[in-house]
């Protein structure tokens, strides 16, 4: 698309809120009949406890509902709409068969408190998934309870805390994270009652071993690490890193956000990690849902098994499946019931779609795709770590600053080419950062199209920076006033 072909398709009118469609007297519901004798409500519930004013919900009919949400969906970009190279988020294709099977009544319409004899299929699925994820990560046991990656981080850290406390080492209160780590790492450490120690990365983008040696001490509870790290680089010294931390009496936490690079190639358990969480909504293809639900199962080495959240699924001697008994050493529950089961069903279906060899292929192609993009874009953008990467890489838009162009402008211009932009301004230790993760489900033709767009944008930045500064042109709205939104928050429609 050249400049002259750029068509301004930003819409002229506000999209209505569902509340603005309301017309008194319209209904979209159909309810079962009242087939029991009706009693006076205030004889069942005292007047003072009853709602005085009906909630001002909209009055619409079913066609309004469908058209409203269909229109909203058309104002949204998902993986099915196009390439979504959002670094660190693993926006791979979400298989449709997984959506189908998760909706089977025997999975979607069962209750967590049914007698175990009536949920054997669900328990078998969870048991098998526990085993598969343990095998994939090289850990000894897995809990499926955490609802998301950050939730898994906190769960793992709580187990580490329980472990140190059980050993009488209450002074182990520090969690070490690299400066490139995701914000949830230090935040999860805080919620688990730890203080964070941040260590710098080397100019090669890896953990600074001297800084790590200087940081570990009698107060070290754990080191949190992704590997490959947030820059998409494999921590080559991982064995040594593990030794340093373990010798100091700390444990190693593996943030599984980047697991899509290593399936079948290396395992966190073999690298020396004691705890690992996996983001099933990344590596295992379960959809991100526009922000959730995800699932963040946590695997542990045997030394942490006593602290797993209650319950896990076990197989009994007679072959049937059951929930484990409550254990006193457990950190307790981290979520009601057993985790995001509907997501676990999809993840299990994904594993069964690929099997051992297929999962390894997934990682190989994810890494090949990332390296291809990196190699092809290197002549046009700054590559602070210009060497073989894993499933993602970071580059910098800093070379465009002389033209008054920032990474944000590149991202906004990409929207006009029909691509979701990469992750930008993360990690924090790379100036004008652009973080690209293509995943294995994108074809060379798709990657080539993206490369051409990125090359054209780099040239537009030099020749016509205004074009970028005013982008996007083809989206329902133009750039939004985020400062104003935070200064005078309007957080609901105040409909009543």
């Amino acid at each position: 698309m050249s400049m002259s072909e750029t068509i301004n398709r930003n819409e002229k009118h506000d999209k209505a809120l569902i509340f603005e469609l309301s017309r008194p007297g319209r209904t979209a519901y159909s309810l079962p009949e009242m087939d029991v004798p009706v009693q006076k409500i205030h004889e069942l519930i005292p007047e003072g406890m009853l709602r005085k004013q009906e909630a001002a919900l909209p009055e619409v009919y079913e066609v309004d509902v469908i058209r409203h949400y269909t229109e909203l969906s058309r104002r949204n970009f998902g993986v099915d709409n196009g390439f979504y190279p959002l670094g660190s988020c693993t926006m791979k294709y979400n298989p449709k068969i997984n959506e189908d099977v998760a909706r089977y009544a025997g999975f979607a319409k069962i209750h967590p408190y049914q007698p175990e004899e009536s949920i054997q299929g669900a328990l078998e699925l969870m048991y098998t998934l526990q085993k598969d994820l343990a095998g994939l990560t090289g850990m000894d046991a897995v809990t499926l309870q955490p609802a998301a990656g950050a939730h898994g981080e906190w769960t793992g850290l709580m187990m580490i805390r329980a472990y140190h406390e059980a050993n009488g080492q209450h002074e182990r209160t520090k969690v070490i994270v690299p400066d490139s780590s995701h914000g949830t790492n230090p935040a999860s450490a805080s919620v688990a009652g730890f203080q964070t120690v941040t260590i710098p990365s080397t100019d090669k983008g890896l953990v600074d071993l001297d800084a790590l040696r200087a940081a570990v001490d009698d107060d070290t509870a754990a080191l949190m690490l992704t590997n490959p790290n947030t820059l998409g680089l494999f921590e080559e010294h991982i064995v040594e890193i593990a030794e340093i931390v373990h010798e100091a009496g700390g444990l190693l936490y593996y943030d599984g956000a980047n697991s899509n690079a290593i399936m079948g190639i290396t395992r966190p358990g073999d690298m020396g990690f004691d705890v690992v969480h996996l983001n099933l909504h990344k590596t295992m293809s379960t959809p991100h849902g526009g922000g959730g639900p995800g699932a963040g199962p946590v695997g542990v080495k045997s030394l942490l098994i006593p602290y797993l959240p209650n319950p896990v699924v076990i197989q009994k001697d007679d072959g049937t499946f059951a929930f484990s008994e409550k254990s006193d050493s457990s950190i307790g529950r981290v979520k009601a019931y057993y985790g995001n089961f509907g997501i676990l069903v999809r993840a299990y279906a994904y594993i069964r779609t690929y099997g051992p060899e297929g999962l390894r292929r997934v990682s190989e192609y994810a890494v090949l795709n990332a390296n291809y993009l990196r190699a092809r874009l290197a002549p046009y953008y700054q590559m602070p770590y210009d060497r073989i990467c894993k499933h993602e890489f970071v580059m910098s838009g800093s070379g465009l600053k002389p033209y008054g162009i920032h990474t944000l402008d590149v991202a906004k211009r990409l929207l006009d080419f029909g691509y979701h932009p990469p992750t930008i301004y993360f990690p924090l230790n790379v100036e004008e950062c652009i973080m690209i993760e293509p995943t294995e489900t994108e074809s060379k033709e798709t990657l080539d199209g993206f490369i051409e767009a990125m090359i054209q944008i780099a040239s537009e930045a030099r020749e016509n920076p205004e074009l970028l500064l005013n982008a996007p042109y083809t989206t329902p709205v133009t750039r939004l006033d985020e400062t104003g939104a935070a200064r005078k928050p309007v957080l609901n429609c105040a409909c009543s």
Partner: protein, 450 residues
Amino acid sequence: MKHRYLPMTEQTKAEMLAAVGVESVEDLFKDIPAAIRFQGELPVSPALDEYALTRHMGALAGQNADTDRFVSFLGAGIYDHHVPSVINHVVSRSEFYTAYTPYQPEVSQGELQAIFEFQSYICELTGMAVANASMYDGATALAEAANLAAAATRRKRIVVSRAVHPEARSVLHTYAHGLNLDVVEVETRNGVTDPEALAAAVTPDTAAVLVQSPNFFGAIENIPAIGELIHAGKGLLIVSTNPLALGLIEAPGKQGADIVVGDAQPLGISGSFGGPTCGFFAVSEAHMRRMPGRIVGQTKDRNGKRGFVLTLQAREQHIRREKATSNICSNQALLALCASVYLSVMGRRGLVEVAELNLQKSHYAKQKLAGVSGVTVPFTSPTFNEFVIRLPEGANMSRIQSKLLEEGYIGGYDLGRSYPELAGHLLIAVTERRSKEEIDRFAVILEGLL
């Protein structure tokens, strides 16, 4: 290896390797030390073709007693409500379910507006000023509310009623250990929080009182009185509620609650073995900037058009790191969408009617079961759609549950599982889906088993 999700061919592989400047895929992994390279076949389940997968998954699903085939009187936090057909159609639109968190607002206006509408719905139902984009579930929302209250009051003592869902209390204890908060549990009387025990537990250094209404026993708490008690010492009132009940019972926000949380599962979200569901979180204006999680705000674009963005992000982990109000980085957007579509479908009158159906049918069932010989209703506190019955001395709970299953019924929740003093008591939920005939038959079968 060929696979339907993988586009790589031998030719593209060769071209791409050449562009990278390496000879083989193996060359891309040379930076991984040999000592930690995985050898052999991964110990995971083997691959299945698509048809075999559907057969296998169908076989697993078929072993579970689902509510299409079984009549359920089980609630205890997850309820068997009618889910309008349109909900699945909306959330099956892949523009919604295959998107990430709306980081690029220009191409995420659909999700952002949907969340803004969800926040509006939650404020309207709960009577609160501000709601966030949702939490993992009702239990974690409650724990996060305790965290907020501790930070807002700079106090560490959390008082929670034992009539709060046992698993929510368990989650609260786990979080409290991490956050170094002290949790004190308060006894119940007649199915609700014991007012005297509560008054004794609320000390001047209490950060918050946490109650659930309708509570775990189905009973409605005296929220205004509890509010007065905690507010006298400048602590906060946190109420966990069932959003569907709010069609009939008073909004906690109108009764003095500072924070209202709960699980939106009753609003069009299938039970799914307990998850994923959708926690909601609403506060009075004073606590807006202490809220955990994502928040969507309204703003304008450069042409003055209305648009929506993620806002108040200075609270969040990606900016504040260890000083964030919470470590949460996601929300349950797709389930929040279910709840929004549900409320759009139900509308002003539908929500009242469905709540009335629940109230009337459950009270009919309560009276019917009270007439079963040997069965009593131990609590007289007013209830919404759930209530407690006591079975006669010596009743074998697991045998009764098994026999009910044989008859096609999923019985209630055995309260002895989490309240030793209530062994022999069943918690019975009756939603709009239960017919008079099913209730009558359930009573007959139960009578036959006692």
